[in-house]
């Protein structure tokens, strides 16, 4: 067969195959049939060419060449058109954003990587079983204030998360919690232009308590320890933050108020001042309540709270796994609230109130249920903190001292209506991943996801914790000591079963014992200890 003809027909077959790449899968069987027909025709032509006499059937070059040349040019033109079409299509496809769905949620990223959005969420379904009968809680015949319990099943978190960035460096986070009275825990913009200096504005966790800064889904226990009672939960304000790397390494840009990646980090912020265990809402209300009459607004413009934190992981990249995971730091704050309401202090896993700032004493030292105690004057906090992670082992500890000036509207015992209070708390927790995975500040990632039919069981972490909170004794010149405890001491043991990166089952047993907080003002007794078994099913992505 003439080479030009064979080349032309082969080109047609190639073009058919090229265009097959652009056709939906459903049409591929049609194309395959066409290709088989063309191949059959080619074979027939070959046979005819082989059988026939060359001198009788081979066309002369003069007769064949122009037609085949024309066909070749046509084929070349078609090929070139397809190349241009592919170039345009590829260019268009390259402009399309990429969509991704996986353990990190649902992600959309622009083709130039300048913009991205991640959609995530968290669901926590808890069961709390108390080893005491709340209706029977009486000490000396007097009912206990806010007794522990009752048993309950609840949705602790029902969160929807939107976070991402625009123009590469302008990060944002919007976190809604439909299971909480604090509907919008986080809403901020963070401009991370350079690793050492980023500006965060909005509602976020003030950088004070180390355990509070841990992700709400990442902690070792169901609830944070007693020192978290002395740190604000969420506040509205502005923060300058940044991170530095060790010499020879490059610092990473990290968005948000916590940075566990860089060797040295700092945060300096000005916020509305949410108070101990408080959260400012986006409209400037503290702890969900409007400011008291005569009090100044807590929105920007009134008395603010300043906080600062530095944290170091000085042994990063040292090559020694026993030292690399060590981090130590200190945080502090000061403010000057004006008649700011004080949030209740609660036990960790039981979430029952054991310090009630609305239950005061009058000047005769008798219980008074009118008025209340507010924070009015200078406040300050100091929070040394540290953690250590090495392989499956994890340790975390922090100490908190929170000072504030208390004022009572009704006047306290002996006519005292102002006292200085310094509450103190500390915790130490240890955890161990039995299945050998790395223990980290941001959680545990199983080596093998739960798949029992394949003999994979996820990861198991065991943990223990001791924490204490001591209320300044001067506080009880204003507060009724039979309704608020002076001290709470808690020990907790827990187990966490990580089915995969996103799904966890946690179980804790916690026992809290109290000093004071029950009986009468003349015969103060200890509030009954609280024992609670809590279980949580959690999915976070």
């Amino acid at each position: 067969m003439n080479n030009f003809r064979r080349t032309a027909i082969a080109s047609i077959i190639n073009l058919t195959l090229l265009s097959a790449g652009n056709v939906y899968a459903d049409d591929s069987s049609v194309l395959e049939k066409r290709i088989r027909e063309l191949e059959k025709r080619l074979q027939q032509l070959d046979k005819a060419s082989a059988l026939s006499s060359p001198s009788a059937t081979a066309p002369t070059n003069a007769a064949v060449t122009p037609e085949v040349e024309k066909l070749t040019r046509k084929v070349n033109t078609l090929e070139r058109k397809l190349e241009i079409q592919d170039e345009v299509t590829t260019g268009n496809f390259q402009k399309l954003p990429t969509f991704d769905a996986g353990p990190d949620g649902f992600r959309i990223t622009s083709n130039d990587k300048q913009h991205a959005l991640r959609i995530g969420g968290a669901i926590q379904a808890d069961n709390r079983a108390f080893f005491n009968n709340p209706t029977a809680e009486k000490v000396g015949g007097v009912p206990v204030n806010s007794p522990a319990g009752p048993d309950n099943i609840l949705i602790r978190q029902g969160r929807l998360l939107l976070e991402g960035y625009v123009y590469k460096d302008i990060n944002f986070k919007v976190l809604a919690d439909l299971a909480s009275t604090n509907l919008l825990p986080d809403a901020y913009i963070d401009y991370t232009y350079k690793a050492p200096a980023s500006l965060l504005v909005g509602k976020f966790k003030p950088s004070i308590s180390l355990e509070r800064l841990q992700g709400d889904s990442d902690g070792v226990f169901l609830e944070r320890a007693l020192p978290s009672n002395l740190a604000p939960n969420r506040d509205v304000g502005i923060q300058l933050h940044g991170g530095f790397a060790l010499p020879g390494y490059q610092a990473e840009k990290v968005a948000g108020p916590i940075d566990s990646k860089n060797a040295f980090t700092y945060q300096i912020g000005v916020t509305g001042g949410a108070g101990d265990n408080g959260s400012n809402s986006t409209d400037g209300r503290t702890n969900g309540a409007p400011a008291a009459v005569g009090a100044s607004s807590t929105s920007l413009g009134g008395n603010k709270e300043f906080d600062a934190r530095i944290f170091a992981q000085p042994f990063q990249h040292i090559g020694n796994k026993w030292l690399e995971g060590f981090g130590v730091g200190i945080a502090g704050s000061f403010g000057n609230p004006n008649h700011q309401s004080i949030n209740k202090q609660v036990t960790s896993n039981g979430q029952s109130q054991f310090v009630d700032y609305t239950k005061t004493l009058n000047s005769s030292g008798v219980a008074s249920n009118t008025g209340g105690v507010v924070s009015n004057g200078r406040t300050s906090r100091i929070y040394p903190q540290a953690y250590w992670y090495a392989g499956p082992i994890g340790l975390l500890g922090e100490y908190a001292a929170s000072s504030q000036h208390l004022s009572s509207n009704t006047g306290g015992k002996g006519g005292v209506n102002n006292v200085e209070q310094t509450n103190k708390a500390y915790q130490i927790q240890a955890s161990y991943v039995v299945t050998g995975e790395d223990n980290t500040f941001t959680g545990v990632k199983p080596l093998r996801n739960f798949d029992p039919l394949k003999g994979a069981w996820g990861a198991l972490q065991l943990a223990a914790r001791w924490s204490e909170l001591t209320i300044d004794s001067d506080t009880f010149r204003l507060l009724d000591p039979s309704l608020s405890a002076r001290k709470a001491s808690a020990w907790t043991i827990g187990a966490n079963w990580y089915l995969n990166k996103n799904a966890i089952i946690r179980t804790d047993y916690e026992n809290v014992s109290f000093t004071g907080g029950a009986g009468t003002t003349t015969a103060i007794a200890n509030r009954p200890s609280e024992s609670v078994l809590s279980t949580r099913f959690q999915l976070a992505f």
Binding site: R73, R80, I84, Y193, Q239, L240, G301, K304, F306
Partner: protein
Amino acid sequence: MNNRVKSVLALLVLGFATYTAQADEVKLLNVSYDPTRELYKDYNTVFAKYWKAKTGDDVSISQSHGGSGKQARSVLEGLEADVVTLALAYDVDQLYQKRKLIPENWQSLLPNNSSPYTSTIVLLVRKGNPLHIKDWDDLVKPGVSIVTPNPKTSGGARWNYLAAWSYALKHNNNDEAAAQAFVARLYKNAAVLDTGARGSTTTFIEREIGDVLIAWENEAYLALKEFGPEKFEIITPSISILAEPPVAVVEDVARKHGTTEVATEYLKYLYSKEAQEIIGKNFYRPTDPEIAAKYAKNFKPLELVKIDAFGGWNAAQKKHFADDGVFDQIYGSGK
């Protein structure tokens, strides 16, 4: 707000702003149209030496090339060009119209309406000119296969189109309908519409597709230089268009990069004698009268129509190349 709060807030913001104001190493990105690769390769070497001698600083220039319209869209979509050197003023002006990346009066900031060189459109045929192509009307004959880029993406393609339109107007007593019919027949003979001028050159020369390439004058001469006059010939039509590719500093980006000074000088230096020599050697028409006279013998004389004859680029773009414009009407019906 009390003074303490104000002071702390000011410190926070000042600390942040001071840190971010640090300058980086001097790098420029020149986003250009398709056929200027060789020109800017030569020019960038010369400019870097000049800048080093003048300031002691090193400057490295990266190039991006593609269809002029496509390049403008890339800059609008975020490609951080310090300067643009595109094929036509409309594409550069989009940077102002759509995103205010350049000032409104950008074209008056440099001489000759910010065009340091000009060119025109000619015809490239195969050696021996087998189809006897002499002028535009030979391109619309049956059996003639032409190669030209797509006016939707390529600036050169728009110059090609307007050159053909100019010819048709002149030879039909300025009858617009006749000109449209002529250009329709022209595009009916188009074998392939590449996205840019360099792509069309590749199609014609390397893939040997088409009988005539409608090309930038400089592209045609480069083809002769690279592939030899024994393979191709340049046919200078009786009438063509004066193509004035403009240049501009993308001030918004240059300010952000801290490169305003070097980017401005990069474009200004295109008007220097040294740069104009490079322009002439690369087969563009220099705007410096002395250098232009030196290279004039390289270019055959022809009647050149300016874009003003079409009411300027905004009017031409709107009428011919916008969606549902004349090109969409004729190319849709010509398929």
